[in-house]
């Protein structure tokens, strides 16, 4: 198909799709007036039922925890896919020397590694109290490690995140989520039902299983992103 035919086809199909899109949008409630009952109910009961203050986290890790299990394994499957495609048996060639030359970038960047990782841990830990959670904090954690490469050098980054450890952490994170569900079954509740003590609202010890599942997600997400960085950076470091 030539580029012209394709563009023509897009104009025709795109117009039809656009009409359908607008038709669909016209059926939505006017902006700012949405009154979804499910969300309203959760907003009013999450605090008393689950002792958490962040309703979004209570949905992600508890009310719709089973959906998040699926999401977690989409992440897992995608990371495995990338590793399958890109990972090669590389001999122990010396890691390339790629030190960052600018003193300013190096100083500021490396100084930020610690605070970034601390911030990531804090976002994960307070995920069910304030905005944040395992997914968001996990990304910040991985970003802290990536800073080691961006502002320091590749060897420092690899030394801080040994392949075996990252693979293991990814498995523990994804497996931990499943294990919490099975533990609920063993305790006599339904799969992924919140069966732990709910603790005191507004403190780190609140939310029951949300705490564990949140931490497992944080670990899985951080490990997954570090793994992705590994695979892509190896491609750059050792071009064929």
């Amino acid at each position: 198909m030539s580029r012209r035919t394709r563009l023509g086809l897009f104009v025709v199909c795109g117009s039809v799709l656009f009409a359908l899109f607008v038709w669909g949008l016209a059926g939505l409630p006017a902006f700012g007036t949405f009154n979804g009952e499910y969300g309203q109910i959760l907003n009013s009961v999450a605090g008393t039922e689950r002792h958490v203050t962040n309703v979004v986290s209570s949905i992600v890790f508890d009310y719709r925890g089973f959906d998040t299990l699926g999401e977690e394994f989409i992440l897992f499957a995608a990371v495995i896919g990338v590793a399958l495609l890109l990972r090669e048996a590389r001999d122990d060639r010396e890691r390339p020397r790629d030190e960052v030359r600018s003193d300013a970038v190096r100083a500021v960047g490396l100084m930020l590694v610690g605070p970034t990782i601390l911030l990531g841990l804090s976002i994960v830990a307070h995920g069910y109290l304030t905005p944040g959670g395992g997914f968001q904090g996990g990304v910040v954690l991985a970003g802290g490690l990536a800073l080691l490469y961006a502002a320091g050098h590749y060897r420092a980054y690899r030394a801080a995140s040994p392949q075996g450890m990252v693979d293991f952490a990814e498995g523990v994170g994804a497996g931990g989520y499943v294990t919490v569900g099975i533990a609920a079954l063993v305790s006599g509740a339904a799969y992924l039902e919140n069966f732990l003590d709910l603790g005191t609202k507004g403190t780190l010890a609140s939310g029951g299983t949300i705490v564990v599942v949140n931490a497992a997600s944080g670990l899985a997400v951080a490990a997954a992103l570090v793994l992705l960085f590994h695979e892509f950076l190896e491609e750059v470091m050792y071009p064929e």
């Binding site: 580029r3 949008l25 902006f31 999450a46 605090g47 992440l75 995608a78 495609l85």
Partner: protein, 115 residues
């Protein structure tokens, strides 16, 4: 003006789609796909917004009675973003493989080489 957020979602969607259709580079194509996906974030959050309401986070300062925007679409958006990022990573890995095998990133050129 209440249609503006929805119009924005539609615009991002079709701009991204145009990019996908006319793309001449696989990396560019993956980014365009990300743009298309971004429209779903805007759409979801726009649907769940309630005028004058706060974020669904009830720390001690915010009484439950005040009410909040819809938390369900926000949870969906979170899932959406994670799936989008992992999908992009997988696609980019495929792009690297294509580059290794055929030394081209142009979809049209790749087809010509096959035939």
């Amino acid at each position: 003006m209440s249609f503006l957020p929805y119009a924005l979602a539609a615009w991002i969607f079709f701009v991204g789609l145009y990019g996908v259709v006319t793309s001449r580079n696989f990396v560019h194509l993956v980014i365009c796909l990300g743009v298309v996906q971004s429209s779903t974030y805007v759409l979801l959050l726009a649907i769940g917004y309630r005028t004058g309401k706060k974020a669904p986070i009830f720390t001690s300062g915010v009484p439950v009675k005040v009410g909040a925007v819809d938390p369900v679409v926000q949870a969906l958006t979170l899932t959406d973003i994670v799936v989008g990022v992992t999908g992009a990573a997988l696609l980019l890995a495929l792009v690297i493989e294509i580059w290794k095998r055929s030394a081209t990133l142009d979809p049209d050129e790749l087809r010509q080489r096959r035939t």
